[in-house]
Symmetry: C2
């Protein structure tokens, strides 16, 4: 069914919007580049005969009518990227969904249930927090006004940006309740690539804990201030980074921890920093373990803050418990991959995905394809064409089955 | 001799240029604010009858003729500040020198030797490295072309900025070789304030080692990348900060170490940083110990870089060995303070100063006054008026003695 060339061509064309050195993309949510990407997708959806609905958080859903007016089978993902992102993360799932529609059109096939292809607003969370914002609102987990009020680091709000780029739509988020939701995505991690497996059967998504810390110390002269008198905001930030690394190693399993963002003030070579703002990203498939990691980071911060005599303010930017996908639907992913003679492996997802929010309102599952060398959120993110094709074929067959029931 | 009100008034007026919240100053070297401060000082010098000479690195020297055409007795410091600096650092020494001249004018006193008041370009090193740039060029330790080529973080060069603000003068740096140089400065550290001593008799300046490190790792997804596969540039930077703290504690004595500046790329919550640029400032009064500290930091970086599989480039931004001031002149500082019934303490300087460069070409000494709570490079930097007056009196008496011989 799937036209490999057309799928790759669409990926190429979308990757041209916000293209950056090294083959990657910078299409942060609700920027001009995101708008250009959205416009391209909406054009394609309309050209494919889809009924396009834009909701009040900017989610875009294109619906292909079924022979009966039933709940649709939905697929989709996101087209926003991080600042130095790849071309597959999110985009692949959306364009594979579009390819399924285009292929059905070519084959002049009508399904019993409608088929819907969606892309959700601000999945990455790189510009606005929380991540998975559009799907979270869609699933009823976040109110519109709260979402509108989220601001980027320059104080620009989601609501204003949605209006500015023309994607504050009229539809009520969640109005269309799917029969099932299936998201196809690159793994973004190394497991399938290392094990040479073609399809990842995603059983769950690990819990995500994002906190931003603002540390206030006292700026002072780097040459004259004895170590015992320092109240160094940057030192606390550094000690947390090192602590998080040690904690992840000690806890083992799939516990990961990252300090990805940090800025110092005044940020000068000979001045003890009086302010540090930094983030901690903690994840675990096990909620109890994730809570343990959070508690231990908090205890470390309290201890160092007291010794260093600095003030620390913590702000939770996102907190999602681990999510288990619908067991029956997960089995079907495995079955369809097997029917195509593809090798499979059951696995949790390390990244957050829109699917984890959709699981709140309908049976949901995910299909992973390998990421070369496990690279993602990197301009060199890559998946082989054969794997892109295989994933889209599994998606198509599963959607057709779901749409016939 | 000294007019306290006039001295405090001049400090107030200069502090009005580049004033920032909290009572501090932002007059980074060769900015518009620095130009405005320079213009104010040059006006005051001319009004006080000084012969003002601007040299090719932007040092400004005002000379008051003596009864004989001998080498002058010189005092001075700098008027540039860090980004969130105080109002006394540097400025106090320059304005106290001007006050000595004004007081001699009022008293219609002529000295045997000429008296010179100088302010040197870019002492702070906050915008351009190395620090003490103007006095270093003056003393022959750095060539003009090398100094002109130094750039700030936006790539703007010293030579271009000197021309732009009109302070690329005609005089040859170092043309005027002083009989002696005495710099009056706030301590910028806690010792005099803690010990309730009025005058610090500065015997030496500790060695300064500034290095900027650029770390290249691999950006990757914070949720999907197992700890063992990370090549996290930010982690290396953090580990150096923590290591430097531990090293300073372990080495003890007056070893200090600071990571004051750090920036990450892409600097996003859910992306492992692929680039970190950070600085390390190490200081010790003992050159052998400073070398040991440098070697141990380098060894730590090599070890972590290998384990993390990141590349590290090191760039030395400044490196000055400890400096011992002229013993005879140091004794005289102590004697003059004693004659005014001021309490004294001999001490090294923790900060770098223009005087340490002048010691290369003439007998040099420094006078310190207390900094309340040891705060400096901080908008709350403060010295009590009585201490400001006392320091200026010691300076005046010492200069008069030197100018009469
Ligand atoms: N898939 C993906 O990269 N989502 C962004 C949110 C996260 O950091 O997991
Ligand atoms: N006095 C002073 O703050 N100098 C700046 C250079 C240094 O960091 O020591």
């Amino acid at each position: 069914l799937i036209d490999e060339k057309r799928l790759l061509g669409a990926l190429d064309e979308l990757a041209g919007i916000g293209a950056i050195d090294g083959g990657g993309c910078a299409r942060l949510a609700l920027t001009d580049e995101d708008k250009a990407g959205r416009d391209l997708l909406v054009g394609w959806m309309k050209a494919a005969g889809l009924d396009v609905r834009i909701d009040a958080i900017g989610n875009v859903i294109g619906v292909r009518a079924g022979s009966e007016n039933l709940a649709p089978v939905m697929t989709g993902s996101h087209i926003d990227t991080v600042r130095t992102g790849g071309r597959y993360d999110g985009n692949y799932g959306v364009l594979a969904g579009l390819e399924v529609v285009r292929a059905l059109n070519d084959a002049k096939r009508t399904t019993r249930r409608p088929i819907a292809v969606a892309f959700f607003t601000n999945e990455e969370g790189a510009r606005f927090q929380p991540d998975m914002m559009g799907s979270l609102v869609y699933a009823g987990g976040l109110g519109l006004n709260e979402a509108y009020a989220a601001t980027d680091k320059d104080g620009v709000a989601v609501g204003d940006e949605l209006r500015r780029i023309g994607y504050l739509g009229a539809a009520k988020p969640g109005a269309l309740k799917p029969h099932a939701f299936v998201e196809l995505h690159i793994e973004q991690g190394p497991i399938l690539d290392e094990e040479k497996v073609q399809i990842g059967v995603v059983e769950s998504v690990q819990g995500i804990s994002w906190t931003e810390y603002t540390v206030t110390g006292v700026s002072n002269h780097a040459g004259t201030t004895p170590m015992r008198l320092r109240r160094d905001a940057g030192y606390l930030a550094a000690s947390v980074n090192v602590f998080v690394r040690g904690l992840a190693h000690e806890m083992g399993g799939n516990q990961v921890g990252t300090v990805g963002a940090l800025s110092l003030r005044p940020n000068l070579i000979n001045v003890v920093p009086n302010r540090a703002v930094f983030t901690v990203d903690l994840r675990n498939t096990d909620e109890a373990k994730l809570k343990e990691a959070e508690a231990r980071v908090a205890a470390h911060i309290a201890e160092v803050a007291a010794a260093e005599r600095v003030e620390v303010e913590a702000k939770v930017l996102a907190r999602f418990e681990p999510v288990i996908f619908e067991a029956g639907l997960v089995d079907r992913v495995e079955r369809h991959a097997g029917a195509l003679s593809l090798t499979t492996q059951r696995m949790p997802s390390g990244a957050g995905h829109d699917a984890q929010m959709m699981q709140r309102i309908c049976p949901t599952a995910m299909i992973f394809v390998p990421s070369v060398a496990g690279l993602s959120h990197n301009v060199k993110e890559h998946t082989e064409a054969a794997d892109l094709l295989a994933g889209a074929q599994v998606l198509a067959n599963l959607m057709l089955e779901l749409a016939s029931e």
